[in-house]
């Protein structure tokens, strides 16, 4: 496993802060996922080793927490909130427009690998619905009429 030196540094700083090593398991999943893009079997084994745990202790987290991934995403990771307040503001129609623009069904990665489009549950910004996340950044008020333009910006690399 080739982790970036800054990831290793973060991990070494973080582990001793916790009263038990196992508490560091979820934070390490985040750090390794951010470094590698996803959590491979090798990555899970590495985390388990680092914390003196069994690989199953990591796998059971990865299969429980929706944000942890066992496959890489496309270049742009687009997450559309579909929970009620966003749906009332048109999130499903927004998503439909994004599907067309990216030529990619929700829940999939486009064939050219440029976009992964996903539905997610409430992101706690319902006053500015619909909410869409691109990578780690949040975009609000992406109503269906703004969706195509929004998709173009993602494609052009403006977002």
């Amino acid at each position: 496993m080739n982790l970036k030196p800054e990831t290793i540094e973060k991990i070494d700083k973080l582990v001793p802060r916790y009263p038990t090593v196992k508490s560091a398991a979820l934070p390490l999943c985040h750090l390794v996922q951010e470094d590698q893009g996803y959590l491979s079997n090798e990555a899970m084994e590495w985390i388990a080793n680092r914390l003196d745990l069994q690989p199953i202790n990591i796998l059971e987290l990865v299969t429980f927490y929706p944000m942890l991934r066992t496959e890489p995403t496309g270049k742009h990771h687009v997450r559309v909130c579909r929970t009620l307040p966003c749906a009332l503001a048109g999130a499903y129609q927004t998503c439909k427009k994004l599907e067309e623009a990216f030529n990619c069904k929700v829940g999939h990665t486009s064939e050219d690998g440029s976009v992964t489009l996903e539905f997610v549950e409430c992101h706690a910004d319902c006053g500015k619905a619909p909410v869409v996340m691109v990578g780690e950044d949040e975009y609000t008020n992406i109503s269906p009429d703004k969706a195509s333009e929004f998709a173009e910006k993602i494609k052009n690399g403006e977002i």
Partner: protein
Amino acid sequence: MAIQEQRLIFKHIDEPGYTNDIDCYIKHGGYEQLKKAVTMKPEDICAEVLESGVRGRGGAGFPAGMKWKFLDRKSGKPIYLVCNCDESEPGTFKDREIVHQDPHQLIEGMMCSAFAIQAKLAFIYIRGEFFQGYKILERAIEEAREKNLLGDNILGSGYSCDIIVHRGAGAYICGEETGLIESIEGNRANPRIKPPYFPAALGLYQCPTIVNNVETLCDVKHIIELGGKGFAQIGTPGNTGTRIWCVSGHVEKPGYYEFPCSAVTLGQLIYDVCGGLKPGRKLKAVIPGGSSAKILRADERFTGKLKDGTEFDWGIEDIPMDFDSLMAVGSMSGSGGVIVMDDSTDMVEALANINYFYAHESCGQCTPCREGVPWMRKVTQRMVDGEAREEDADLLKNIADQIAGRTICAFGEAASWPVQSFIAKFKDEFVQKAREQAARRKEGKAAATKTTLI
């Protein structure tokens, strides 16, 4: 003229020129209450919090001072404080603003609370999707550490406590306090059974632990400033302090609005504060406290007796926005997430949307919830897909009735209450859906119609 907000927690939120760094916070009187707190006796702070009557802002509305009183101080084990910043009840978006715009208010509230309960270590459990919020908190904690406002020997008081920011990873159940504790311990967030696992006695690492919501911990700072008695003068007896109402859905001006408890009615909040509904639309229903709260129908009459014995006879617009009034009308103020629906809303679709959420979020530990909630989702999905049956409403209610009260944690109720209340109040729409689909099928047309909410 719109009713004026009275902001306490959100005083500086969206204020022009107000930034989330420590210098700005201190310039606005920040950390004065922590300076005061560390000169007080910890038990005196706990007494003030109890006297303030402040109730938990995360959903359950349990008096925070009482929670603190249950803390097992004689065990000899370390005490932990955990801030629940997992904000994930659909319709709620207040903690996000505190974290992003005023993180030091939370840190000050937390350090005052940590000192009061003599916590050895504090955690902020922040939901994984708050990427920016996590970075902001990490920076704010370093700023506070540099000024000796947390860490070793805080302000020379001899008291030491650090804060660890712990990120969740997209699981709603981590908002349940014992699930959250399991998550910090590095496990799946399967909630623990109470008794015996009341966090105040057997919490994080089987040690006494207090878990409070972001807003509740911010309230503690203001309780120290105003005194328990002074804080209790805001709002009404039993419903003290302010509430931040997060309004979403079909209103002209959705957003967060802070008022003393009981200061506005639901009607004033929707029509006056939020500018009413979209042009030409009429109110159909409101979910007043996050998506698990029971739905209120616009043309209902609510009658009964309040805790203090006063009788009430309210329309939906007359309901005072506070803990007890919303409980008296059969719902709850929950986390303060008010979801407004106008007459364009298809209630079957709305429930199908909610059921999708809870089916996705069940942790899978208890059979009634693991099996029952996805079953309810399948039924409502089938209904919107054109296979609705007239008896589906009864089936849904039957399933929900068999989940609520039969699970380890309150998720069973959270998932059942929407179904039970939608069926109780809009059963005719569920039956109507089946009849319309049957009629269309007879005419040789597709039974399903285009959906908007699922």
